[in-house]
């Protein structure tokens, strides 16, 4: 697999998911995510998996959760309109602690918006699209190689934390084909499905936890009695109306991820060592932003980039560290202004944070971002 090939981002996600052990895909095609479903339909039968095209996006994620409870690592892929439909069951997966990966290849919204046109307008929906106090993991790739890597990583995180994970892509990277060299199979780390450590006779409780606060819920059909519900439940898995149980349950959902935050929250620092200014970007926009950073450097501006690999939980510490060192942060995003609010919050006033928003169905040009960089630098002179 070490030979370089031309590969599309969406295809790379499918290949990564298969490597991570995904054996079920329930989906409903929607541009610009459809190639993921097509590739999964091609690959899953070859590895003994199942591909089911469901009647709609809600049924798709329902089938994915069912398959996951029955022991299969499972994934679905969609775009904005389908992502909206899936939100109810994403919340269910969060409360019932069912591992699942939901790929959202963002396009222009709201509603059916601009099919096949690039946008990054689902940043906040990825975090808060479903109701209630749930934790969320969302990661976002900027290259085709990273689409493959994050196809694996999303599945690993879902299994490790028994948690729905959003692979937050955009049309730019999803449809991009580029030269890619995939890792050797032996270099790929796969997190296995968690198994019960006790038998029924030893007093197994499906939602009991150890030090990592993640339950080892038995797969259906493996001899355990399991009850799964979206109602707040205790260690038995059965609903409880107790305020104490309620508080403990919601605390644990958040804490299981926050105590292992370093495993989840990842950023990439590019040219930041001597930087006086910074760009914070993610996904396909980071590609154009980095080109603009390189162009501005050639003109003598000491600027670097913090690339957010993880969108949720938000990399507040990393952003603050940058904000403390620079005179200004520019946030280019293909939406009306979503992530910029989080960055302002994380910067705690240590430096000005400026938004460069674009929402006309086109991607940024390097010149547009460079111009905003120069305006930020000029404003400080």
């Amino acid at each position: 697999m070490s030979k370089a090939t031309l590969m599309q981002g969406n295809e790379a996600v499918a290949l990564g998911a298969i490597e991570a052990g995904v054996r079920f895909f329930g989906g409903y095609p929607i541009t610009p995510s459809t190639e993921i479903a097509e590739k999964m339909a091609e690959l899953l039968p070859e590895v003994g998996g199942r591909f089911v095209q469901m009647e709609d996006e809600i049924a798709s994620v329902g089938a994915v959760l069912g398959a996951s409870l029955a022991g299969a690592k499972a994934l679905t892929a969609t775009s904005g309109p389908g992502f909206s439909l899936k939100q109810e069951l994403i919340g269910y997966a969060s409360e019932a602690e069912i591992p699942a990966v939901i790929v959202d290849v963002q396009r222009v919204g709201p509603a059916t918006g601009q099919p096949t046109s690039p946008a990054q307008g689902d940043v906040m929906q990825a975090r808060w699209g479903t109701h209630g106090d749930h934790p969320m993991i969302a990661i976002s790739p900027w290259t085709v190689r990273e689409c493959f890597d994050m196809g694996i990583e999303a599945v690993n995180l879902a299994e490790r934390f028994r948690q729905p994970v959003i692979l937050l892509m955009d049309e730019i990277v999803g449809h991009l084909r580029e030269r890619v060299e995939l890792p050797e199979k032996e270099d790929i780390v796969v997190y296995p499905r968690r198994k019960p450590k006790k038998t029924r006779e030893e007093g197994y409780q499906p939602y009991a936890v150890g030090d990592d606060l993640v339950p080892d819920i038995a797969d259906f059909g493996t001899g355990y009695r399991i009850h799964v519900t979206g109602l707040i439940h205790d260690e038995t898995g059965f609903p409880s109306g107790s305020p104490a149980v309620t508080r403990k349950a919601i605390d644990r959902l958040h804490q299981k991820i926050m105590i292992a935050k370093d495993e989840v929250v990842k950023t990439e620092s590019l040219l930041l060592d001597d930087a006086e200014y910074a760009v914070v970007a993610f996904g396909g926009t980071a590609r154009t932003a980095y080109q603009a950073v390189l162009d501005a450097r050639r003109k003598g501006v000491k600027i670097g980039m913090l690339r957010l690999r993880t969108i949720w939980p938000f990399a507040a510490e990393a952003v603050y560290e940058v904000a403390r060192k620079v005179k200004g942060i520019l946030v280019p995003e293909l939406n009306y202004g979503q992530l910029v609010g989080e960055i302002e919050r994380a910067a705690k006033g240590a430096c000005p944070v400026e938004l460069l928003a674009k929402y006309n169905a086109e991607i940024f040009t390097p010149a547009e971002i460079e111009e905003a960089i120069m305006a930020m630098v000029g404003g400080n002179k």
Partner: protein
């Protein structure tokens, strides 16, 4: 670095044309990326694909000032030639673009006509265009492109596609001598 744009109408195969060119560049050990834009309609809507070939890393994924533009419809020609570099080249389907834009280095080849008359189907127009592109741009070698075409198309059509590639290459060659 070489920046190329392939444009036409959905169904003419311009995206496939771009993908094969980028595949050939990667097969030659170069860095290449390919992006595309198309409307909600699969057939008949406008369709555009871009390829960047470079020895260095490529970050921004879209073409900024193309060295080469292929236009397979009048609409695509009118829309996509403006940002060509001054020394760039515009390749048009001679019959489908009756009113060529006023660009100095324009090459007109009856691409779709060649596909119909020499190979038997308009379906091969994109491979005819690919052959012409290879001759005009010199971006990748003919033999590597031929191999990439053969690997991609259904086995029963390899022979016809090879004929189409050669026909396009020869048509461009005749004009460039």
């Amino acid at each position: 670095m070489s920046e190329m744009r392939f444009s036409g109408s959905g169904g003419q195969g311009v995206i496939t044309c771009a993908i094969i060119l980028a595949q050939a560049a990667v097969a030659e050990g170069k860095n290449a990326i390919q992006s595309q834009a198309y409307g909600p309609a699969a057939r008949g809507g406008s369709s555009k694909a871009e390829v960047i070939i470079s020895d260095d890393a490529i970050y921004h994924p879209h073409v900024e000032a193309p060295d080469f533009v292929l236009a397979m419809t009048q609409e695509a020609a009118d829309k996509y030639w403006h940002d060509l570099k001054d020394d760039g080249i515009l390749l048009l389907d001679e019959n489908l673009v009756p009113n060529p834009p006023a660009f100095a280095k324009t090459i007109r080849i009856p691409i779709t006509h060649i596909a119909v008359s020499d190979i038997g189907k308009a379906l091969f127009a994109n491979i005819v265009a690919l052959g012409a592109t290879v001759r005009i741009t010199g971006a990748v070698s003919y033999d590597v492109v031929a191999k990439c075409v053969a690997d991609r198309v259904p086995p029963a059509t390899v022979e016809s596609n090879m004929k189409a590639l050669k026909a396009g290459y020869d048509a461009a060659d005749a004009l460039m001598k």
